[in-house]
C-alpha cells in the first residue's frame, strides 16, 4: 500500500461514496479525506469531509494541510449535470484538474495520484483497432469537446509526472459504467422508452460494471503504476444484442437524421445524448485490458455481456441470481 492518508475528490458522487465506504473499512487507511461541493449522503463515519470547490484556488491551501499521501481524483464529469452549462463542465474538468495538480505540487507528502479518467480519449472511429492499447490515445484527432478535455487533462498529468518523478501518477481510462446504483449515460440510455440506434450500424460496445469499476480503483490505489491504464469489464457486446436483451422498441435512424430526431425526442422525455455517446452508438469502442490485469493486478470479474444482463434483469425488477452478483467484499491483490 502506497500511503495511509488518502484524499478523494468528488466524494459525493455514487462511485466516490462507494470508494470512501470501502476505504473506511480498510485497516491500511489511517486517515480519509473527502472533498466535494455538497456533503455525501452515504453513512460515512471516519472520513473527514472538506467542503471545497475544486475550481477555486482555496484547494491550494487546503490540500497541503491534510498531509495526504494518495490523492484520488474522481471529479471528472462525463457529461454536464442537469442544468449545468457545457462551459461549467469544462471548467470543472480542466481548470479543476489544473488547480488540483498545482495544489499537489505544493503538498510534499504526496506519493501517488490516481485519476478516474475516461477511455473517451480514444474516441469512436469506424476502422479503429478493435481494442485500444494505452499507447494508442493519439491515433485520431479529437472530435468532441469532452475528448479534447480529457486529452488536456492527460497532458497536464503527463507534465506533472515529468516534473515530479517521485510521485506515481496513474491515469485510469474508464469505459462507460453500468450498474443498478449508478446514473450514467448507459443506464439513462437503457431507461429510455424507445432506443434510438443508427440505421445499418451494430457497434461493439464495452462497459465497466460498477463493482469492477470500484475494485479497479481500489486496486490502483493499493498498487499505483505509472501512466495510463484501461479499465473495463471483459469482452464486448453488440448494440443490437443489447437492445434486444432490453426488450425495448428500437428506432433505427439514418445518421443524417439521428441528431435532429434525438434532439426532438428530448421534448417527449428522451434523454439528451452527448456527442461522445452518439459516436459510441455509431462506431463503438473496445479497450485492451492487459495492463490492468498484469501490472495493476486486477482481473475484472464481469464480462460486458454479464454486466448488461444483470443491469437489465435488475431494472425490470427480476431477481438477480446470486452467482451473477460479485462478492461485495473483494480479494484484491
Amino acid at each position: 500500500m502506497a500511503g495511509r492518508r488518502v484524499l478523494i475528490t468528488g466524494v459525493s458522487t455514487k462511485l466516490g461514496a462507494q470508494l470512501a465506504l470501502r476505504l473506511e473499512a480498510d485497516p491500511d487507511v489511517d486517515k480519509l479525506f473527502g472533498m466535494d461541493l455538497v456533503p455525501p449522503t452515504a453513512p460515512l463515519t471516519r472520513m473527514e469531509f472538506i467542503q471545497a470547490d475544486i475550481r477555486e484556488p482555496d484547494v491550494m491551501s487546503i490540500l497541503p494541510e491534510t498531509g495526504a499521501e494518495v490523492v484520488v481524483h474522481n471529479n471528472i464529469l462525463r457529461r454536464p449535470r442537469v442544468g449545468m452549462s457545457p462551459q461549467a463542465a469544462h471548467d470543472i474538468n480542466v481548470i479543476g484538474t489544473l488547480q488540483l495538480l498545482t495544489a499537489c505540487e505544493h503538498t510534499g507528502s504526496i506519493e501517488a495520484i490516481v485519476v478516474r479518467g475516461s477511455a473517451g480519449i480514444y474516441g469512436s472511429e469506424p476502422a479503429a483497432p478493435q481494442f485500444f492499447r494505452e499507447d494508442m490515445a493519439m491515433l485520431y484527432a479529437s472530435r468532441t469537446r469532452f475528448q479534447r478535455d480529457v486529452s488536456e487533462i492527460e497532458t497536464y498529468f503527463e507534465n506533472f509526472a515529468r516534473r515530479r518523478p517521485h510521485v506515481t501518477c496513474t491515469m485510469l481510462r474508464y469505459q462507460p459504467a453500468i450498474g443498478t446504483s449508478l446514473n450514467t449515460q448507459v443506464t439513462r440510455y437503457l431507461a429510455m422508452p424507445v432506443l434510438p440506434t443508427f440505421l445499418g450500424y451494430d457497434p461493439r460496445l464495452q462497459f465497466v460494471h460498477e463493482i469492477d469499476g470500484l475494485e479497479a480503483l481500489v486496486a490502483a490505489i493499493k498498487n499505483p503504476v505509472r501512466g495510463a491504464v484501461n479499465v473495463a469489464s471483459r469482452g464486448t457486446i453488440g448494440l443490437t444484442r443489447m437492445v434486444r436483451m432490453a426488450h425495448k422498441p428500437n428506432v433505427p435512424l439514418p445518421p443524417q437524421l439521428f441528431g435532429g430526431a434525438v434532439q426532438a425526442g428530448t421534448r417527449f422525455g428522451l434523454d439528451r445524448l452527448s456527442d461522445d455517446f452518439k459516436r459510441l452508438l455509431r462506431y463503438g469502442r473496445g479497450v485492451d485490458l492487459a495492463r490492468l490485469e498484469n501490472e495493476v493486478g486486477f482481473v475484472p470479474r464481469y464480462t460486458t455481456v454479464e454486466a448488461v444482463a444483470e443491469y437489465i434483469r435488475a431494472s425490470r425488477g427480476e431477481p438477480v441470481p446470486a452467482e451473477a452478483r460479485g462478492p461485495s467484499e473483494s480479494a484484491v491483490v
Binding site: P126, A127, A128, P129, Q130, F131, R133, M136, F198, L199, G200, Y201, D202, R204, G235, T236, I237, G238, T240, R241, M242, V243, R244, M245, A246, H247, P255, G286, D288
Partner: protein, 320 residues
C-alpha cells in the same frame, strides 16, 4: 495433392423440403403405405420449422453469442448455404493444397486481392470449411473503408471480418486464430483489368513483422478467378471524393446497372494453398530486422505470383 471437387449434398435453404422428401423416401422404402409415409415425413417438417421459429425468436430476444470481435458463428452458418452456392455453382471453385493449412493454432494466410467486396476472403473461408479435415473459420482483414458503410460493416463482422489494422491482426493471432490478410491492400483492390494477376507491392512487409512477432507460420495463397469478377476499366475521381471511397471503379456493369452492377461475373476459380513458411525459429525480436522482413516478403510474393501463373494455365478458359 490431387484436386478436390466435392459433390456433397447441398444444404440450401431448401433443407426442410429436402428433409421432407428424404424421410418420405425412407418410409416408402421400408414398406409403408403412401399416406402413412406422408404423414410420417410431414411430422418432421413442422418440427424443423418449429425449432427454426423458436431459434429465431430466441435471437430476437438477444439470446445469441458473438465473440469480442462481433463474429457470430450461428449467423455465419445461416449465411453458409449462400456462400456455398457461389462457391459450387457460380465460380466452380477448385482447391489445391488444403493440407498446408494448419488444423489448429495461429497461422497467417497471405493472398492476392482484387475488388472492394471481399469475395476472395469468403471463398478461402468456404474452401477451408469444406475441404479441411479439421474445418475452422478463417478471420479476415477488410479494407477499413468498408467499416463506415451501413450494413456492410455489420455483415462483415458477423461472418469473421475485422478492420485492417496490425493491432487487430496481432490480437487475433495471439488468440490462436487463422487470419487471412491481403497485403496488396487498396492497390490490389483498385487493379485495372489489364493488370490482373500482377501482384502489387506488398506494402512495407508489415504482415511479415506480424508473423515474426507472433511466431505464426505464413501460408501463401494464390486465388485465380477473383480478379476477373469485376473487370475494372477505369475510375471516377469525382464520385470517389463524393462517396468517400478510396476509388470509384467503372466496370462494364457498374455503375450503369446500379446495384445489379455489384453482381460478380461467374469466372472459374482455383485456390491453391502453398507450403507454409515457418517463422517461429527466428524469434520475435527479428521482427525489427528489416532485411529479413523484406527477404521473406519477397519470397512470399514470388511464391504467390508463380502459383498464380501456374493456376491460370491449369484453369484454361476464364468463364466456361
Amino acid at each position: 495433392m490431387s484436386e478436390t471437387r466435392t459433390d456433397r449434398p447441398q444444404d440450401l435453404p431448401l433443407a426442410a423440403a429436402i428433409g421432407f422428401l428424404r424421410s418420405l423416401r425412407k418410409a416408402l422404402e421400408s414398406g409403408a403405405e403412401l399416406p402413412v409415409a406422408l404423414s410420417h415425413a410431414a411430422g418432421g417438417l413442422p418440427r424443423q420449422a418449429r425449432t427454426r421459429v423458436e431459434r429465431m425468436s430466441d435471437r430476437l430476444g438477444g439470446d445469441y453469442a458473438e465473440d469480442e470481435w462481433g463474429f457470430d458463428e450461428e449467423f455465419a452458418e445461416t449465411a453458409f448455404p449462400f456462400f456455398e452456392f457461389m462457391y459450387d455453382r457460380w465460380w466452380r471453385v477448385q482447391v489445391e493444397g488444403i493440407q498446408h493449412v494448419p488444423g489448429h493454432g495461429r497461422a497467417l494466410l497471405v493472398a492476392n486481392h482484387a475488388g472492394v467486396v471481399p469475395w476472395d476472403a469468403t471463398m478461402i473461408g468456404v474452401a477451408i470449411l469444406r475441404h479441411h479435415p479439421l474445418p475452422r473459420y478463417a478471420r479476415f482483414l477488410v479494407l477499413n473503408w468498408a467499416f463506415d458503410l451501413p450494413w456492410a460493416s455489420v455483415f462483415l463482422r458477423k461472418v469473421g471480418g475485422v478492420p485492417a489494422s496490425h493491432h487487430n491482426a496481432q490480437r487475433l493471432l495471439e488468440q490462436e486464430n487463422l487470419v487471412a490478410v491481403f497485403p496488396e491492400g487498396v492497390k490490389g483492390a483498385g487493379k485495372d483489368w489489364n493488370q490482373r494477376y500482377r501482384l502489387q507491392r506488398f506494402g512495407r512487409g508489415g504482415y511479415i513483422e506480424l508473423a515474426l512477432r507472433t511466431g505464426s507460420p505464413i501460408v501463401p495463397v494464390a486465388v485465380v478467378g477473383s480478379e476477373e469478377i469485376y473487370p475494372k476499366l477505369g475510375e471516377n475521381r469525382l464520385l470517389a471524393r463524393i462517396t468517400g471511397a478510396p476509388y470509384f471503379p467503372v466496370t462494364p456493369t457498374f455503375p450503369w446497372l446500379g446495384p445489379l452492377g455489384g453482381v460478380p461475373l461467374p469466372s472459374k476459380w482455383r485456390i491453391e494453398f502453398c507450403e507454409p513458411i515457418p517463422t517461429e525459429h527466428y524469434g520475435p525480436e527479428r521482427a525489427q530486422d528489416q532485411r529479413l522482413v523484406l527477404e521473406l516478403s519477397e519470397r512470399v510474393q514470388e511464391t504467390i505470383q508463380q502459383k498464380l501463373y501456374e493456376n491460370l494455365v491449369k484453369r484454361g478458359s476464364t468463364f466456361v
